[in-house]
Amino acid sequence: MPKLLASAYKELLLLTRDIGGLAVLFLMPLLLVIVITTVQDGSFKTIKQNKIDILLVDKDKGEVSQTIHDNLRTSDMFNIIEQSNENEAQKLIQNGKYQLAIILPENLSNDLNLKIAENVDGILAKFGVDESEDLPGTIQIEPKEVKLFFDPATQFSFRNAIKSGINQMVSKIETKSIYKAFQEEISEDSNEEIFDTESFIIFKEIIPNSGKEAMIPNSTQHNIPAWSLFAIFFIILPLSINMVKEKNQGTFVRLRTHPVSYATVLGGKAIVFLLVSLIQFALMLVVGIFLFPLIDLPQLNISGRLPLLFVVALFAGLAAVGLGLLLGTIAKSQEQSAPFGATFVVILAAIGGVWVPVFAMPQLMQTLSNLSPMNWGLNAFYDVFLRNVGFIEILPEIGLLTLFFIATTFIAIIYYKRKNAV
């Protein structure tokens, strides 16, 4: 025990003597979480508050195009810029000046009305309702194409959202036109409202909760756990560099001649770096609670969850420390440990669901994400932060994190013993 404590004390001294390194260790993760949350919150606000400029080429100039025009305008998402030439619009999109151009084809209104009238007449004739004796001959009406030009730089999700929105709008116009055609055929009074054209099925978003206080997810509630975890795992960099440095300084060689086990040496490092990761996490929470509201970001809500959050942070920190100890044991130089450590953490974060939710990943990646300790940590954080669960529910995740720590540390010790057997 005294050797372990002396080892931890030495690590603490080494850390505190490097003020610059210490500042980087604590400030960079804070900067990261502030920047990421601001960017994500900003993008969200951009869509909601700042209108996106879009080009509209209206070759139809009819009732349908006017409805599309009105709907786009009232959606509050777009600022419509009329453009008469399709080629010119395409060029502007290619140049990246605008992100989207909508081309409404010629005779869209006319052909849509004709097609609907033809269909309605056909249906009414079947029921023997149509009074007209002579049905006009069937005219071949080609389906109309609304072209959407996207800036290649726009993201897939943005394109999908726009396509789905336009599709919904066109469907609504078609439905309304059908109702209108029926009304004109059936009723003598064109102002009489026979059909209720408003949507019958509406959506209501409900966040389930187990009888406890409901938590409204926002960019902060998602970002703080995700990026705290990312920062906690970044501890493997300073930890592995610290170990490589000791090898290069010769102090590690000297220690090998001492009657002290490698587990004790690693234990000292683990205690201090675990403490560092917990301080990092505490600072993240402080920033989320106190700083975010001051810079117009949603405030972090941790009410009643603090102890459980620290339990998750502790076990995530253990897993990160285990990985750092293993990397530091195997790496021979800082050129090996630093780039590998940084890249590996980014990979773990990517497959762990820090950037893209796991459910949105391809099947192979979803399977792989089950192997990422960051995924276990993130699930545990989300369980506590957003699903408001208790200790029992997070046991599987913290169990996996503990096993990961034990496995990585055990491998490090075995590797060291095999490498330095005498």
Partner: protein
């Protein structure tokens, strides 16, 4: 005290033995010098004896203990002073020594007393709270020595403990080692300073190409070599004047 039998070491990716079937007995209380040109195998031998390298073949025991069977006891018995400084530059002299002393299991009050005694003898007590990175080469060498002797080892291995230091520092180190030896520590050291070894050692072995060329008391070796006045003459006549460069 130390019995070495047919000890060999061949590094990976080399086609020669750094230490080749070496046999040697070192008695308790001796100051034994391992001398030889660069690449002769001195550091390799001392590294094997201090548990830093695994021999390719052969065996050795220290006080009848072996690393394979009594690693912890043996490590407690020996002290090692490596050639490089092997200290934490951002920690003070006291912090470095407290740490390495603790790793030998020396209890805190005794350890502090021991540290200050050695610092006083080696003229470093007023620098105890200064960071190692501010120390001169000679000061670092002296701290490096203290770090290896805080647990009062029975056997002390020193790899070129006086390399790159001024005469004053060298004198202080040698005097301190002589004192330790008088108090019962067996000393095995490597050096390129042949005059120092001639004065300091009770016995020396000249090693070349991984094998012992000659061993004995310095005076005895000088007398046995025709025309030799100093150990350096014996050394040059046995190992030759050709430069020893190893890449």
């Amino acid at each position: 005290m130390i019995q070495i039998n047919n000890l060999s070491k061949k590094y990976k990716d080399t086609d020669f033995y750094s230490v080749k079937k070496l046999n040697l007995n070192i008695n308790e209380g001796e100051i034994f010098g391992l001398l030889g040109p660069n690449g002769a195998g001195k550091t390799t031998l001392i590294s094997m004896l201090s548990s830093l390298l695994k021999p390719t073949s052969g065996s050795f025991s220290i006080n009848k203990l072996t690393y394979s069977e009594n690693q912890k006891e043996l490590k407690q018995l020996i002290g090692t002073v490596p050639q490089e400084y092997a200290l934490y530059p951002t920690l003070t002299a006291l912090e470095n020594l407290m740490y390495f002393g603790s790793m030998y299991g020396v209890k805190k009050p005794l350890l502090k007393e021991e540290i200050y005694t050695h610092l006083e003898i080696l003229g470093l007590s007023k620098f105890s709270h200064q960071k190692i990175k501010t120390f001169s080469g000679g000061m670092k060498r002296r701290i490096n020595l203290i770090a290896g002797i805080l647990h009062k080892p029975k056997v002390l291995f020193l790899d070129e403990p006086t390399v790159g230091v001024d005469v004053q520092s060298r004198n202080a180190i040698i005097k301190h080692l002589e004192k330790l030896n008088k108090n019962g520590t067996t000393i095995i050291y490597t050096s390129h300073h042949l005059n120092e070894a001639e004065e300091f050692c009770t016995r020396v072995a000249i090693i070349d190409h991984g094998s012992i060329v000659v061993k004995g008391e310095p005076k005895e070796l000088i007398n046995d070599q025709q025309g030799a006045k100093h150990l350096e003459d014996v050394f040059l006549s046995l190992t030759g004047k050709a430069l020893r460069d190893y890449a």
